[in-house]
Protein backbone atom coordinates (compact mmCIF):
# COMPACT_ATOMS: atom_id res chain seq x y z
CA UNK A 1 0.00 0.00 0.00
CA UNK A 2 1.33 3.37 -0.89
CA UNK A 3 1.45 5.65 2.08
CA UNK A 4 1.62 9.04 0.44
CA UNK A 5 0.63 9.87 -3.08
CA UNK A 6 3.35 12.46 -3.28
CA UNK A 7 5.57 14.48 -1.05
CA UNK A 8 4.35 17.89 -0.10
CA UNK A 9 7.05 19.45 -2.17
CA UNK A 10 9.68 17.90 -4.32
CA UNK A 11 12.97 19.35 -3.27
CA UNK A 12 13.68 22.31 -5.48
CA UNK A 13 17.05 23.41 -6.69
CA UNK A 14 18.33 26.46 -4.93
CA UNK A 15 21.98 27.04 -4.52
CA UNK A 16 23.06 23.76 -6.05
CA UNK A 17 26.34 24.06 -7.90
CA UNK A 18 26.34 22.07 -11.11
CA UNK A 19 29.58 21.04 -12.78
CA UNK A 20 31.08 23.89 -14.74
CA UNK A 21 31.32 21.99 -17.99
CA UNK A 22 27.84 20.62 -17.64
CA UNK A 23 26.41 24.13 -17.49
CA UNK A 24 27.89 24.90 -20.87
CA UNK A 25 26.71 21.81 -22.64
CA UNK A 26 22.96 21.71 -22.86
CA UNK A 27 22.94 18.04 -23.76
CA UNK A 28 25.24 16.92 -21.00
CA UNK A 29 24.56 15.85 -17.46
CA UNK A 30 23.93 18.46 -14.80
CA UNK A 31 24.91 17.37 -11.34
CA UNK A 32 22.45 18.85 -8.87
CA UNK A 33 24.09 17.52 -5.73
CA UNK A 34 27.04 15.42 -4.70
CA UNK A 35 26.64 13.87 -1.28
CA UNK A 36 29.28 12.14 0.80
CA UNK A 37 28.20 8.61 1.65
CA UNK A 38 29.34 7.26 5.00
CA UNK A 39 29.33 3.53 5.61
CA UNK A 40 27.62 2.21 8.72
CA UNK A 41 28.94 -0.93 10.46
CA UNK A 42 26.51 -3.11 8.51
CA UNK A 43 27.61 -1.63 5.21
CA UNK A 44 24.59 0.65 4.82
CA UNK A 45 25.17 3.92 3.02
CA UNK A 46 24.35 7.07 4.95
CA UNK A 47 24.00 10.66 3.78
CA UNK A 48 23.42 13.85 5.73
CA UNK A 49 20.34 16.02 5.35
CA UNK A 50 19.88 19.24 7.31
CA UNK A 51 16.43 19.69 8.82
CA UNK A 52 15.76 22.85 10.77
CA UNK A 53 19.47 23.46 11.15
CA UNK A 54 20.13 19.98 12.54
CA UNK A 55 21.89 17.16 10.71
CA UNK A 56 19.92 13.98 10.14
CA UNK A 57 21.90 10.92 9.09
CA UNK A 58 19.72 9.08 6.61
CA UNK A 59 20.16 5.52 5.37
CA UNK A 60 19.80 5.42 1.58
CA UNK A 61 16.90 3.04 1.04
CA UNK A 62 15.91 2.46 -2.56
CA UNK A 63 13.63 -0.30 -1.27
CA UNK A 64 11.62 2.16 0.79
CA UNK A 65 8.69 4.26 -0.36
CA UNK A 66 8.68 7.61 1.39
CA UNK A 67 11.55 9.02 3.40
CA UNK A 68 11.25 8.53 7.14
CA UNK A 69 12.53 9.92 10.42
CA UNK A 70 12.78 8.08 13.71
CA UNK A 71 10.52 9.01 16.59
CA UNK A 72 13.48 10.16 18.64
CA UNK A 73 14.74 12.50 15.93
CA UNK A 74 11.24 13.94 15.43
CA UNK A 75 10.96 14.44 19.19
CA UNK A 76 14.38 16.07 19.42
CA UNK A 77 13.36 18.69 16.84
CA UNK A 78 9.86 19.01 18.29
CA UNK A 79 8.45 18.68 14.78
CA UNK A 80 4.75 19.00 14.12
CA UNK A 81 3.22 15.52 13.95
CA UNK A 82 -0.08 14.55 12.34
CA UNK A 83 -1.88 11.33 11.41
CA UNK A 84 -1.59 10.15 7.83
CA UNK A 85 -5.01 11.00 6.50
CA UNK A 86 -6.98 7.86 5.76
CA UNK A 87 -4.04 5.54 5.20
CA UNK A 88 -1.12 3.81 6.78
CA UNK A 89 1.79 1.64 5.82
CA UNK A 90 2.87 -1.69 7.24
CA UNK A 91 6.57 -1.63 7.85
CA UNK A 92 8.66 -4.79 7.53
CA UNK A 93 8.04 -6.73 10.71
CA UNK A 94 4.37 -5.78 10.86
CA UNK A 95 4.66 -2.32 12.40
CA UNK A 96 1.89 0.03 11.40
CA UNK A 97 3.11 3.50 10.50
CA UNK A 98 0.32 6.05 10.54
CA UNK A 99 1.86 9.42 11.43
CA UNK A 100 4.02 11.92 9.66
CA UNK A 101 6.11 14.90 10.74
CA UNK A 102 6.83 18.10 8.87
CA UNK A 103 10.45 19.19 8.76
CA UNK A 104 11.40 22.72 7.77
CA UNK A 105 14.42 24.31 6.11
CA UNK A 106 15.53 21.18 4.31
CA UNK A 107 19.00 21.01 2.77
CA UNK A 108 20.26 17.93 0.97
CA UNK A 109 23.70 18.65 -0.41
CA UNK A 110 22.64 22.14 -1.46
CA UNK A 111 19.18 21.14 -2.68
CA UNK A 112 16.82 23.15 -0.57
CA UNK A 113 13.13 23.04 0.24
CA UNK A 114 11.13 25.07 2.77
CA UNK A 115 9.47 21.96 4.17
CA UNK A 116 9.04 18.24 3.66
CA UNK A 117 6.83 15.55 5.16
CA UNK A 118 8.46 12.44 6.63
CA UNK A 119 6.79 9.26 7.78
CA UNK A 120 7.61 8.58 11.44
CA UNK A 121 9.17 5.20 12.16
CA UNK A 122 9.56 3.65 15.60
CA UNK A 123 12.95 3.73 17.29
CA UNK A 124 15.13 0.65 17.28
CA UNK A 125 14.75 -0.38 13.65
CA UNK A 126 17.82 1.39 12.32
CA UNK A 127 21.42 1.13 13.46
CA UNK A 128 22.49 3.50 16.24
CA UNK A 129 23.25 6.94 14.92
CA UNK A 130 20.89 6.70 11.94
CA UNK A 131 17.99 9.13 12.13
CA UNK A 132 15.86 7.96 9.22
CA UNK A 133 15.83 6.93 5.58
CA UNK A 134 16.19 8.60 2.20
CA UNK A 135 13.72 6.85 -0.08
CA UNK A 136 12.49 6.97 -3.68
CA UNK A 137 10.06 9.85 -2.99
CA UNK A 138 13.12 12.11 -3.14
CA UNK A 139 15.58 10.00 -5.07
CA UNK A 140 13.47 9.44 -8.15
CA UNK A 141 13.08 13.17 -8.67
CA UNK A 142 16.67 12.97 -10.00
CA UNK A 143 18.91 10.53 -11.78
CA UNK A 144 20.91 8.75 -9.07
CA UNK A 145 24.55 7.78 -9.36
CA UNK A 146 25.97 5.45 -6.71
CA UNK A 147 29.75 5.76 -6.67
CA UNK A 148 30.54 3.50 -3.74
CA UNK A 149 34.31 3.51 -4.29
CA UNK A 150 34.28 7.29 -4.38
CA UNK A 151 31.84 7.36 -1.44
CA UNK A 152 29.50 9.68 -3.35
CA UNK A 153 25.81 9.75 -4.10
CA UNK A 154 25.45 12.09 -7.06
CA UNK A 155 22.05 13.42 -8.05
CA UNK A 156 21.63 14.65 -11.64
CA UNK A 157 18.86 16.55 -13.30
CA UNK A 158 16.93 14.08 -15.40
CA UNK A 159 16.02 16.51 -18.21
CA UNK A 160 19.13 15.89 -20.25
CA UNK A 161 19.54 14.37 -23.66
CA UNK A 162 22.81 12.57 -23.10
CA UNK A 163 22.57 8.98 -24.20
CA UNK A 164 25.47 7.42 -22.30
CA UNK A 165 25.24 8.10 -18.60
CA UNK A 166 28.29 6.00 -17.65
CA UNK A 167 30.31 9.20 -17.89
CA UNK A 168 32.92 8.03 -15.39
CA UNK A 169 34.49 5.53 -17.74
CA UNK A 170 35.67 5.01 -21.27
CA UNK A 171 35.74 1.29 -20.57
CA UNK A 172 33.01 -1.19 -21.26
CA UNK A 173 29.87 -0.69 -19.26
CA UNK A 174 26.45 -2.28 -19.09
CA UNK A 175 23.20 -0.55 -20.00
CA UNK A 176 20.24 -2.47 -18.64
CA UNK A 177 16.56 -1.64 -19.24
CA UNK A 178 14.76 -1.17 -15.95
CA UNK A 179 11.19 -1.03 -14.75
CA UNK A 180 9.80 1.11 -11.97
CA UNK A 181 6.76 0.23 -9.95
CA UNK A 182 4.47 2.94 -8.64
CA UNK A 183 6.48 3.11 -5.38
CA UNK A 184 9.61 3.98 -7.34
CA UNK A 185 11.26 0.60 -6.80
CA UNK A 186 13.65 -0.27 -9.60
CA UNK A 187 13.91 -3.78 -11.06
CA UNK A 188 15.84 -5.18 -13.99
CA UNK A 189 16.99 -8.51 -15.47
CA UNK A 190 20.21 -10.14 -14.29
CA UNK A 191 21.72 -13.53 -14.96
CA UNK A 192 22.52 -15.84 -12.07
CA UNK A 193 24.67 -18.83 -13.01
CA UNK A 194 23.32 -18.64 -16.56
CA UNK A 195 19.66 -18.23 -15.61
CA UNK A 196 17.71 -15.03 -16.20
CA UNK A 197 16.07 -13.62 -13.10
CA UNK A 198 14.49 -10.30 -12.15
CA UNK A 199 16.24 -8.29 -9.45
CA UNK A 200 15.04 -5.37 -7.37
CA UNK A 201 17.51 -2.79 -6.09
CA UNK A 202 17.43 -2.31 -2.32
CA UNK A 203 20.24 -0.28 -0.81
CA UNK A 204 18.48 -0.46 2.56
CA UNK A 205 19.20 -4.19 2.84
CA UNK A 206 22.62 -5.45 3.89
CA UNK A 207 22.54 -8.87 2.26
CA UNK A 208 20.80 -9.96 -0.93
CA UNK A 209 17.84 -12.28 -0.75
CA UNK A 210 16.63 -14.90 -3.21
CA UNK A 211 13.43 -16.89 -2.89
CA UNK A 212 14.19 -20.54 -2.24
CA UNK A 213 11.28 -21.77 -4.35
CA UNK A 214 12.35 -19.63 -7.32
CA UNK A 215 15.87 -20.96 -6.97
CA UNK A 216 14.64 -24.55 -6.77
CA UNK A 217 12.54 -24.05 -9.92
CA UNK A 218 15.34 -22.34 -11.82
CA UNK A 219 18.31 -24.44 -10.83
CA UNK A 220 16.66 -27.77 -10.14
CA UNK A 221 17.97 -28.32 -6.64
CA UNK A 222 15.86 -29.27 -3.64
CA UNK A 223 15.95 -28.51 0.06
CA UNK A 224 17.91 -31.73 0.50
CA UNK A 225 20.72 -30.66 -1.83
CA UNK A 226 24.02 -31.06 0.04
CA UNK A 227 25.28 -27.74 -1.36
CA UNK A 228 22.34 -25.92 0.21
CA UNK A 229 23.60 -24.98 3.67
CA UNK A 230 21.48 -23.74 6.55
CA UNK A 231 22.83 -20.41 7.74
CA UNK A 232 20.34 -19.67 10.47
CA UNK A 233 17.12 -20.91 11.99
CA UNK A 234 14.54 -18.22 12.64
CA UNK A 235 11.01 -18.18 14.01
CA UNK A 236 9.76 -18.10 10.42
CA UNK A 237 11.93 -20.87 9.04
CA UNK A 238 15.44 -21.45 7.85
CA UNK A 239 17.84 -19.14 6.05
CA UNK A 240 19.95 -20.91 3.47
CA UNK A 241 23.08 -20.32 1.44
CA UNK A 242 23.91 -21.85 -1.94
CA UNK A 243 27.29 -21.58 -3.69
CA UNK A 244 26.26 -19.58 -6.75
CA UNK A 245 29.21 -18.77 -8.97
CA UNK A 246 28.33 -15.58 -10.79
CA UNK A 247 25.77 -12.81 -10.99
CA UNK A 248 25.91 -11.00 -14.31
CA UNK A 249 24.68 -7.49 -15.02
CA UNK A 250 24.72 -7.58 -18.84
CA UNK A 251 28.44 -8.16 -18.94
CA UNK A 252 29.49 -6.79 -15.56
CA UNK A 253 29.91 -9.80 -13.29
CA UNK A 254 30.03 -10.27 -9.55
CA UNK A 255 31.80 -13.50 -8.62
CA UNK A 256 30.54 -15.70 -5.78
CA UNK A 257 27.58 -13.43 -5.03
CA UNK A 258 26.54 -13.36 -1.38
CA UNK A 259 22.91 -14.49 -1.60
CA UNK A 260 20.76 -15.74 1.25
CA UNK A 261 17.75 -17.86 0.44
CA UNK A 262 14.39 -17.74 2.22
CA UNK A 263 11.41 -19.96 1.67
CA UNK A 264 8.18 -18.23 0.72
CA UNK A 265 6.35 -21.19 2.22
CA UNK A 266 8.08 -20.71 5.57
CA UNK A 267 7.60 -16.95 5.52
CA UNK A 268 3.97 -17.24 4.38
CA UNK A 269 4.61 -14.89 1.45
CA UNK A 270 2.52 -15.38 -1.69
CA UNK A 271 4.25 -15.87 -5.02
CA UNK A 272 4.67 -12.86 -7.25
CA UNK A 273 6.99 -10.63 -5.24
CA UNK A 274 10.52 -9.79 -6.26
CA UNK A 275 12.57 -12.84 -7.20
CA UNK A 276 15.88 -11.40 -6.09
CA UNK A 277 16.42 -8.45 -3.77
CA UNK A 278 19.85 -6.95 -4.35
CA UNK A 279 21.29 -5.63 -1.11
CA UNK A 280 24.48 -3.77 -0.35
CA UNK A 281 26.60 -6.93 -0.17
CA UNK A 282 26.45 -7.11 -3.95
CA UNK A 283 25.63 -3.53 -4.87
CA UNK A 284 28.75 -2.09 -3.25
CA UNK A 285 30.78 -3.98 -5.83
CA UNK A 286 29.17 -1.88 -8.58
CA UNK A 287 29.12 1.69 -9.80
CA UNK A 288 25.57 2.47 -10.90
CA UNK A 289 23.63 5.25 -12.54
CA UNK A 290 19.82 5.06 -12.53
CA UNK A 291 18.35 7.05 -15.42
CA UNK A 292 14.66 7.24 -14.58
CA UNK A 293 13.50 9.04 -17.71
CA UNK A 294 15.42 6.71 -19.99
CA UNK A 295 14.38 3.71 -17.84
CA UNK A 296 17.91 2.40 -17.87
CA UNK A 297 20.57 1.34 -15.39
CA UNK A 298 24.22 1.97 -16.25
CA UNK A 299 26.68 -0.29 -14.49
CA UNK A 300 30.42 -0.86 -14.18
CA UNK A 301 32.49 -2.53 -11.50
CA UNK A 302 32.87 -0.23 -8.49
CA UNK A 303 36.53 0.51 -9.11
CA UNK A 304 36.28 1.05 -12.86
CA UNK A 305 37.28 4.47 -14.09
Amino acid sequence: MRIRHRVALVLVLAGAVPCAAAENESCSLTRAASLNMATDPSGGQVVAMTIGGRTANLLIDTGGIDSMLTESFVDSLNLRVAPLPGRYVMMFGGYRLDRFAVGHDIDLGGLKAPYKEFIIMPNGHLPDGIDGTLAPDIMRAYDDEFDFAGAKLNLFLSNHCQTNMAYWTKSEHAEIPLEQDHFGHVSFPVTLDGKKIRATLDTGTARSVLNLEEAEDLFGFTENDPQLKTLEKTDNGHVYKYPFKSLDFSGVSVANPDLTLFSRRDEGIPRGGPELILGMGILRQLHMYIAYKEQALYVTAASTH
Binding site: P127, E145, A149, A151, R284, Q285
Partner: protein, 270 residues
Protein backbone atom coordinates in the same frame (compact mmCIF):
# COMPACT_ATOMS: atom_id res chain seq x y z
CA UNK B 1 32.91 14.79 -20.13
CA UNK B 2 35.00 12.56 -17.93
CA UNK B 3 37.43 15.40 -17.39
CA UNK B 4 34.62 17.82 -16.70
CA UNK B 5 33.19 15.64 -13.98
CA UNK B 6 36.65 14.56 -12.98
CA UNK B 7 36.13 14.86 -9.24
CA UNK B 8 34.26 11.60 -9.18
CA UNK B 9 36.76 9.86 -11.41
CA UNK B 10 39.74 10.96 -9.39
CA UNK B 11 38.00 9.90 -6.21
CA UNK B 12 37.34 6.41 -7.51
CA UNK B 13 39.74 3.79 -6.24
CA UNK B 14 40.81 0.36 -7.36
CA UNK B 15 42.43 -2.32 -5.25
CA UNK B 16 41.81 -0.63 -1.94
CA UNK B 17 38.10 -0.35 -2.51
CA UNK B 18 37.71 -3.95 -3.64
CA UNK B 19 39.38 -5.11 -0.43
CA UNK B 20 37.22 -2.72 1.60
CA UNK B 21 34.04 -4.13 0.03
CA UNK B 22 35.27 -7.65 0.73
CA UNK B 23 35.90 -6.73 4.35
CA UNK B 24 32.40 -5.36 4.86
CA UNK B 25 30.88 -8.51 3.35
CA UNK B 26 33.14 -10.75 5.43
CA UNK B 27 31.99 -9.07 8.63
CA UNK B 28 28.36 -9.51 7.58
CA UNK B 29 28.99 -13.18 6.89
CA UNK B 30 30.76 -13.67 10.23
CA UNK B 31 34.15 -14.36 8.65
CA UNK B 32 36.34 -12.31 11.01
CA UNK B 33 39.73 -13.55 9.74
CA UNK B 34 38.85 -12.63 6.15
CA UNK B 35 37.52 -9.26 7.34
CA UNK B 36 40.82 -8.49 9.11
CA UNK B 37 42.84 -9.51 6.05
CA UNK B 38 40.63 -7.53 3.69
CA UNK B 39 40.50 -4.31 5.71
CA UNK B 40 44.25 -4.50 6.31
CA UNK B 41 44.82 -4.79 2.58
CA UNK B 42 42.41 -1.92 1.93
CA UNK B 43 44.25 0.34 4.36
CA UNK B 44 47.64 -0.68 3.00
CA UNK B 45 46.69 -0.15 -0.63
CA UNK B 46 47.04 3.59 -0.35
CA UNK B 47 44.26 4.33 -2.83
CA UNK B 48 41.21 3.90 -0.60
CA UNK B 49 38.97 6.95 -0.72
CA UNK B 50 39.66 9.00 2.43
CA UNK B 51 35.94 9.00 3.28
CA UNK B 52 36.09 5.21 3.64
CA UNK B 53 39.22 4.99 5.78
CA UNK B 54 37.44 5.41 9.15
CA UNK B 55 34.95 2.68 8.20
CA UNK B 56 37.86 0.39 7.32
CA UNK B 57 39.43 0.88 10.77
CA UNK B 58 36.08 0.35 12.45
CA UNK B 59 35.34 -2.74 10.36
CA UNK B 60 38.70 -4.23 11.27
CA UNK B 61 38.14 -3.38 14.94
CA UNK B 62 34.83 -5.26 14.88
CA UNK B 63 36.55 -8.27 13.34
CA UNK B 64 39.40 -8.12 15.87
CA UNK B 65 36.89 -7.98 18.71
CA UNK B 66 35.10 -11.04 17.37
CA UNK B 67 38.42 -12.87 17.50
CA UNK B 68 39.17 -11.65 21.01
CA UNK B 69 42.07 -9.48 19.84
CA UNK B 70 41.10 -6.69 22.18
CA UNK B 71 44.24 -4.52 22.04
CA UNK B 72 44.27 -4.54 18.26
CA UNK B 73 40.63 -3.51 18.27
CA UNK B 74 41.38 -0.68 20.69
CA UNK B 75 44.18 0.61 18.46
CA UNK B 76 41.91 0.64 15.41
CA UNK B 77 39.17 2.42 17.30
CA UNK B 78 41.71 5.00 18.49
CA UNK B 79 42.38 5.72 14.82
CA UNK B 80 38.67 5.77 13.99
CA UNK B 81 37.97 8.29 16.76
CA UNK B 82 40.98 10.39 15.77
CA UNK B 83 39.42 10.64 12.31
CA UNK B 84 35.85 11.01 13.62
CA UNK B 85 36.10 12.81 16.96
CA UNK B 86 32.91 12.70 18.98
CA UNK B 87 31.41 9.77 17.08
CA UNK B 88 29.11 8.23 19.67
CA UNK B 89 28.98 4.75 18.15
CA UNK B 90 32.75 4.81 17.79
CA UNK B 91 33.19 5.68 21.46
CA UNK B 92 30.81 2.87 22.43
CA UNK B 93 32.76 0.40 20.33
CA UNK B 94 36.10 1.56 21.75
CA UNK B 95 34.55 1.21 25.19
CA UNK B 96 33.72 -2.40 24.30
CA UNK B 97 37.29 -2.93 23.10
CA UNK B 98 38.75 -1.47 26.30
CA UNK B 99 36.42 -3.62 28.41
CA UNK B 100 37.43 -6.67 26.36
CA UNK B 101 41.07 -5.84 27.12
CA UNK B 102 40.28 -5.50 30.81
CA UNK B 103 40.92 -1.74 30.68
CA UNK B 104 37.81 -0.88 32.60
CA UNK B 105 38.80 2.65 33.58
CA UNK B 106 39.45 3.52 29.93
CA UNK B 107 36.14 1.93 28.98
CA UNK B 108 34.44 4.00 31.68
CA UNK B 109 36.01 7.16 30.23
CA UNK B 110 34.65 6.35 26.77
CA UNK B 111 31.17 5.60 28.05
CA UNK B 112 31.22 8.80 30.11
CA UNK B 113 31.99 10.69 26.91
CA UNK B 114 29.04 8.94 25.28
CA UNK B 115 26.78 10.10 28.12
CA UNK B 116 28.08 13.65 27.76
CA UNK B 117 27.22 13.57 24.07
CA UNK B 118 24.01 11.52 24.23
CA UNK B 119 22.58 11.09 27.72
CA UNK B 120 20.01 8.44 26.89
CA UNK B 121 18.99 5.26 28.70
CA UNK B 122 21.22 3.01 26.60
CA UNK B 123 24.28 5.05 27.49
CA UNK B 124 23.50 4.97 31.22
CA UNK B 125 22.66 1.27 31.05
CA UNK B 126 25.98 0.45 29.38
CA UNK B 127 28.04 2.48 31.85
CA UNK B 128 26.05 1.11 34.77
CA UNK B 129 26.91 -2.44 33.75
CA UNK B 130 30.54 -1.52 33.29
CA UNK B 131 30.70 0.07 36.74
CA UNK B 132 28.97 -2.97 38.17
CA UNK B 133 31.76 -5.09 36.65
CA UNK B 134 34.27 -2.78 38.29
CA UNK B 135 32.45 -3.52 41.55
CA UNK B 136 31.70 0.19 41.91
CA UNK B 137 28.18 -0.72 42.93
CA UNK B 138 27.22 2.67 44.33
CA UNK B 139 27.94 4.61 41.14
CA UNK B 140 26.51 1.75 39.08
CA UNK B 141 23.27 2.21 41.03
CA UNK B 142 23.34 5.92 40.14
CA UNK B 143 23.46 5.02 36.44
CA UNK B 144 20.66 2.46 36.74
CA UNK B 145 18.61 5.07 38.61
CA UNK B 146 19.00 7.30 35.56
CA UNK B 147 17.75 4.49 33.33
CA UNK B 148 14.73 4.02 35.59
CA UNK B 149 14.03 7.74 35.48
CA UNK B 150 14.18 7.73 31.67
CA UNK B 151 12.22 4.47 31.32
CA UNK B 152 10.15 3.86 34.48
CA UNK B 153 8.42 0.78 33.07
CA UNK B 154 11.72 -1.06 32.47
CA UNK B 155 11.63 -3.83 35.07
CA UNK B 156 15.17 -4.97 34.33
CA UNK B 157 16.51 -1.46 35.00
CA UNK B 158 14.78 -1.54 38.40
CA UNK B 159 16.19 -5.02 38.97
CA UNK B 160 19.77 -3.88 38.31
CA UNK B 161 19.21 -0.78 40.42
CA UNK B 162 18.15 -2.84 43.43
CA UNK B 163 20.83 -5.47 42.79
CA UNK B 164 23.50 -2.76 42.72
CA UNK B 165 22.15 -1.13 45.85
CA UNK B 166 22.16 -4.45 47.68
CA UNK B 167 25.70 -5.20 46.61
CA UNK B 168 26.75 -1.69 47.62
CA UNK B 169 25.16 -2.30 51.01
CA UNK B 170 23.01 0.75 50.36
CA UNK B 171 19.53 -0.67 50.05
CA UNK B 172 16.85 1.30 51.85
CA UNK B 173 13.86 -1.10 52.11
CA UNK B 174 11.40 1.79 52.02
CA UNK B 175 12.91 3.13 48.79
CA UNK B 176 12.96 -0.39 47.33
CA UNK B 177 9.32 -0.95 48.24
CA UNK B 178 8.46 2.36 46.61
CA UNK B 179 10.32 1.32 43.41
CA UNK B 180 8.33 -1.92 43.33
CA UNK B 181 5.09 0.01 43.69
CA UNK B 182 5.99 2.21 40.74
CA UNK B 183 6.18 -0.78 38.40
CA UNK B 184 2.83 -1.27 36.76
CA UNK B 185 3.63 -4.74 35.49
CA UNK B 186 3.33 -7.67 37.88
CA UNK B 187 5.09 -10.05 35.51
CA UNK B 188 8.64 -11.25 35.43
CA UNK B 189 11.15 -9.97 36.61
CA UNK B 190 9.13 -8.50 39.50
CA UNK B 191 9.71 -11.58 41.75
CA UNK B 192 13.46 -11.02 41.40
CA UNK B 193 13.15 -7.36 42.30
CA UNK B 194 11.09 -8.27 45.36
CA UNK B 195 13.82 -10.69 46.40
CA UNK B 196 16.45 -7.94 46.37
CA UNK B 197 14.28 -5.47 48.30
CA UNK B 198 13.58 -8.13 50.89
CA UNK B 199 9.95 -8.94 50.18
CA UNK B 200 10.64 -12.55 49.10
CA UNK B 201 13.39 -15.13 49.58
CA UNK B 202 15.79 -16.79 47.13
CA UNK B 203 14.03 -20.10 47.74
CA UNK B 204 10.85 -18.62 46.27
CA UNK B 205 12.44 -17.92 42.88
CA UNK B 206 12.31 -21.45 41.45
CA UNK B 207 8.53 -21.49 41.76
CA UNK B 208 8.18 -17.91 40.53
CA UNK B 209 10.24 -18.75 37.42
CA UNK B 210 8.05 -21.72 36.56
CA UNK B 211 5.07 -19.64 35.41
CA UNK B 212 4.42 -18.93 31.72
CA UNK B 213 4.93 -20.79 28.46
CA UNK B 214 7.80 -23.22 28.03
CA UNK B 215 10.12 -20.78 26.23
CA UNK B 216 9.58 -18.16 28.91
CA UNK B 217 10.12 -20.65 31.71
CA UNK B 218 13.53 -21.71 30.40
CA UNK B 219 14.67 -18.10 30.15
CA UNK B 220 13.21 -17.18 33.53
CA UNK B 221 14.95 -20.12 35.16
CA UNK B 222 18.31 -19.10 33.74
CA UNK B 223 17.74 -15.55 34.93
CA UNK B 224 16.67 -16.79 38.36
CA UNK B 225 19.90 -18.78 38.63
CA UNK B 226 21.99 -15.69 37.88
CA UNK B 227 20.12 -13.23 40.12
CA UNK B 228 19.85 -15.62 43.05
CA UNK B 229 23.61 -16.12 42.71
CA UNK B 230 23.97 -12.35 42.88
CA UNK B 231 21.84 -12.31 46.02
CA UNK B 232 24.22 -14.84 47.59
CA UNK B 233 27.25 -12.81 46.53
CA UNK B 234 25.66 -9.73 48.09
CA UNK B 235 25.44 -11.76 51.27
CA UNK B 236 29.09 -12.85 51.00
CA UNK B 237 28.28 -16.48 50.20
CA UNK B 238 30.22 -17.28 47.05
CA UNK B 239 29.97 -21.03 47.70
CA UNK B 240 26.20 -20.86 47.21
CA UNK B 241 26.59 -18.50 44.24
CA UNK B 242 29.11 -20.49 42.23
CA UNK B 243 26.94 -23.48 41.12
CA UNK B 244 24.11 -21.12 40.15
CA UNK B 245 26.49 -19.00 38.09
CA UNK B 246 27.82 -22.12 36.41
CA UNK B 247 24.28 -23.20 35.53
CA UNK B 248 23.43 -19.74 34.20
CA UNK B 249 26.57 -19.65 32.08
CA UNK B 250 25.63 -23.03 30.61
CA UNK B 251 21.90 -22.58 30.13
CA UNK B 252 21.28 -18.89 29.42
CA UNK B 253 21.05 -17.90 25.75
CA UNK B 254 24.30 -16.34 24.65
CA UNK B 255 22.64 -13.05 23.77
CA UNK B 256 21.35 -12.63 27.34
CA UNK B 257 22.96 -10.13 29.69
CA UNK B 258 22.82 -12.83 32.36
CA UNK B 259 24.96 -15.19 30.26
CA UNK B 260 27.76 -12.64 29.86
CA UNK B 261 27.65 -11.48 33.45
CA UNK B 262 27.54 -15.01 34.86
CA UNK B 263 30.71 -15.82 32.94
CA UNK B 264 32.28 -12.58 34.15
CA UNK B 265 31.39 -13.30 37.77
CA UNK B 266 32.83 -16.80 37.52
CA UNK B 267 36.07 -15.36 36.17
CA UNK B 268 36.38 -13.14 39.24
CA UNK B 269 35.49 -15.74 41.87
CA UNK B 270 38.48 -17.21 43.63
Amino acid sequence: MIAALGGACVAASAAGYDDFARGISANLQGDAPLAVTSFSAALAAGDLNPTLIPAAYRGRAIAYLRQGQCKAATADMDEFIRLNPGDVQGLELRGDAHACAGELAAADADLSQVIALRPDRTAYWNRGRLRWRQKNFGVAADDFAQVVQLQPENGYAVLWLELSRVRAGALDPKVGAHDVEQLRNDDWPLPLIKMFVGETKPDDMALAASHGDSDKIANQQCEADFYVAEWWLAHNDSASARPLLETASQKCPKNFVEYAEAKFELSTLK
